[in-house]
């Protein structure tokens, strides 16, 4: 039974804040940073107005935000937080630890460029520095997706087969600060959907004391790290099942990635985040001109759904990967992943990077990209919108 889509005009940040309010987490440690601030400001007001029972901890740094979040989650409290850019960079030490201790924290990341020079605009560099931490990483195209992924995230994080922290990325300003119509679920529905959080060994259970965060020597560290690898490998299956349930609840279909006009595409673009919407527009225009182009929008970056992606792109001769981050001195990160996934396949791959530090990616840029994809031979990374 579908809910009537009563649409609300919300910025991405506000949509995330609404999701957080509806989840009503126990603890929300947070530190302000642009462009994540609309999330915490909106949510703090909701708590102040009595719309959520959450305990906000206004910590003194992102490092402490993640420390408090991991601790609270391990204590047995459902814990959410949010950050951006330098904040994520500062907390990354504990981001690793949160995953290794299997603290199912959910964190919204207003994706923003890393310093220097200091820049506050959209970029995926921040998320990329956390790609090896053991977190599940999801990327949203727009405010609606940000809202929906935030509601999926706790179920995924807390799933007994997974029990890993989850990051939901939404592009800074482009999504966090843009108002768009969003279809919201009712509070009761969300509450029923997320349910109760139960940790099997909560630190607050003093009758059954546990030691969490021990010191591991060479005789055990490897196995304990491998355990994380195994947990991440279970994520796609769990996510798929959750998405089926969420579709029944909301009428909106989600998956690890979305294929757009890909079935008969001869050229395809792989992209994450807000640029995917622009790409759809470009594709529609090119399709009108008879060009067989399509899109693979990746939502689940970690764990990387290599096998499914390989299958989805198996029939496409030319694939471009557009990164919104660099891996300085090497291939951009998403491209490297797709390359690895498609290794041995006849598909010809081309790396693109663009949109760094909030540099716009226009529809025309992407149309041009599709255009040259068929014409130019494959070569080193090409830069979209770079002034040279």
């Amino acid at each position: 039974m579908l809910e009537a889509p009563a649409l609300s005009l919300l910025t991405g940040g506000e949509a995330v804040a609404v999701a957080v309010r509806q989840i009503d987490p126990d603890v929300f440690p947070v530190y302000p940073i642009t462009p994540q601030t609309p999330i915490i400001q909106s949510f703090a007001q909701m708590v102040a107005d009595g719309q959520a029972r959450t305990e906000i901890i206004n910590v003194e740094s992102e490092h402490s935000a993640m420390s408090a979040a991991a601790a609270a989650a391990l204590a047995g409290a459902r814990t959410l937080t949010a950050t951006s850019s330098q904040g994520l960079a500062l907390m990354v030490e504990v981001v690793y630890i949160a995953a290794s201790l299997r603290a199912p924290v959910v964190m919204a990341v207003g994706n923003r460029a890393l310093s220097g020079p200091i820049n506050i605009h959209a970029d995926h560099s921040d998320a990329m520095l956390a790609r090896d931490t053991g977190w599940v990483q999801l990327f949203a195209e727009n405010a609606q997706e940000a809202y929906d992924l935030m509601l999926l995230a706790p179920r995924l994080a807390e799933h007994p087969e997974v029990r890993l922290p989850v990051m939901v990325g939404l592009d800074g300003f482009t999504i966090t600060h843009s108002a768009e119509p969003v279809a919201l679920l009712g509070d009761a529905k969300v509450q029923a959907w997320v349910g109760e959080y139960r940790h099997p060994y909560p630190l607050l259970d003093t009758a059954n004391p546990v030691t969490v965060g021990p010191f591991a020597m060479p005789d055990s560290y490897f196995e304990l790290r491998y355990q994380l690898q195994e947990a991440l490998e279970r994520v796609p299956g769990v996510l798929e099942a959750l998405c089926r349930g969420y579709a029944r609840l909301s009428g909106r279909e989600y998956a690890a990635f979305e294929s757009y006009r890909l079935e008969d595409a001869e050229r395809a673009l792989v992209v994450m985040g807000s640029a995917a919407g622009t790409a759809k527009e470009a594709i529609d225009r090119l399709r009108e001109q008879g060009e067989k182009v399509g899109l693979l929008k990746l939502r689940l970056f970690r764990p990387f759904p290599a096998q499914a992606l390989r299958e989805a792109l198996a029939h496409v001769p030319h694939v471009a990967v557009l990164d919104r981050a660099l891996s300085l001195g090497s291939f951009p990160p998403l491209y490297a992943e797709v390359c690895a996934a498609l290794y041995g396949s006849p598909t010809r791959l081309q790396s693109y990077a663009g949109g760094l530090g909030g540099r716009e990616i226009y529809t025309e840029d992407l149309m041009r990209l599709f255009g040259e994809l068929a014409e130019l031979p494959a070569g080193p990374t090409r830069y979209v919108g770079l002034r040279r």
């Binding site: 603890v27 305990e55 003194e60 740094s61 420390s67 609270a72 047995g76 201790l101 003093t206 004391p209």
Partner: protein, 326 residues
Amino acid sequence: MPSLKTLAHNAETDVRFTGGHSLCRGCGAPTVVRTVLNSIPTPVVVVNATGCLEVATTRYPTTAWGVPWLHLAFENAAAAASGLETAYRALRKRGAIPDEPLTFVVFGGDGGTYDIGLQALSGALERGHRFLYVCYDNEGYMNTGIQRSGATPFAAATTTSPSGRRDYGKHQTRKDITAIAIAHHIPYVAQAAISHWQDLSDKAVRASQQQGPAFLNVLSGCALGWGHPPADTIEVVRLAVETRYWPLYEVVQGHYWLNHRPERPLPLEEWLSRQDRFKHLFASENREHLTELQALVDAEWTQVEARAVVDAPWFEARPEMRGGRV
């Protein structure tokens, strides 16, 4: 206040810290941990900053801890405690956990407290979380092999502030972390020492009864880092107190109380001469630094003494907060 027999009883009925860890022979840290944990009447949850105590007590899959224990990293123990304490309040508010008292105790070494963990500590103290932060202060980075820290005293030799033909050890004075904690205007701050376990025990109880943050800076010992036989740890720490190097005092709701006034204060040499890290100070060319160190100690003592209420036993002023004097 708990008597020693009460502490033993508590330890018999609720084993909070066991043997089988790999801390050095004669280490002072376990005395801090056992005295504090056995004194606190409520169940406890412990957070541990990275350091000797942490690595040596939790070599996977063993543990010396009989209480819930969490270690995240070096600099964030106070932040982790903030998260735990908030989770406790949140879950209690929702009726998700039993409505029972619980005490959160952080153990951090001086590196994790004075230096790298200072920011998180300051934040947690400012926010007023109800927890007890215990610094087991052995005046250096002992876990990594005796490097200088903000707690290392003036003129002490460490591997990164060595004495040599041209140098006399650490050039800078010790950071007064207790004063920094006091400046947060939290309900309870105290300085204690392992040699004065009863004072430490009393302070642990008082600290755990506060409605906000409490900070305890406990002079521990390190036979390896200070350079004395393991059997002398307690004695050497006691000398630190009896030479007035380490005043035992507490600040309760802003009021200073001197807990121990050495009857016959010993010259600082009595303490210094027992430790290899000060050996070089007895060479004639370093005598001036020894004098300088004595002057620093005297100045700190005078300052604490001037602030402290010494003539009236403080429990008379605040009977609900009574406790032992040493």
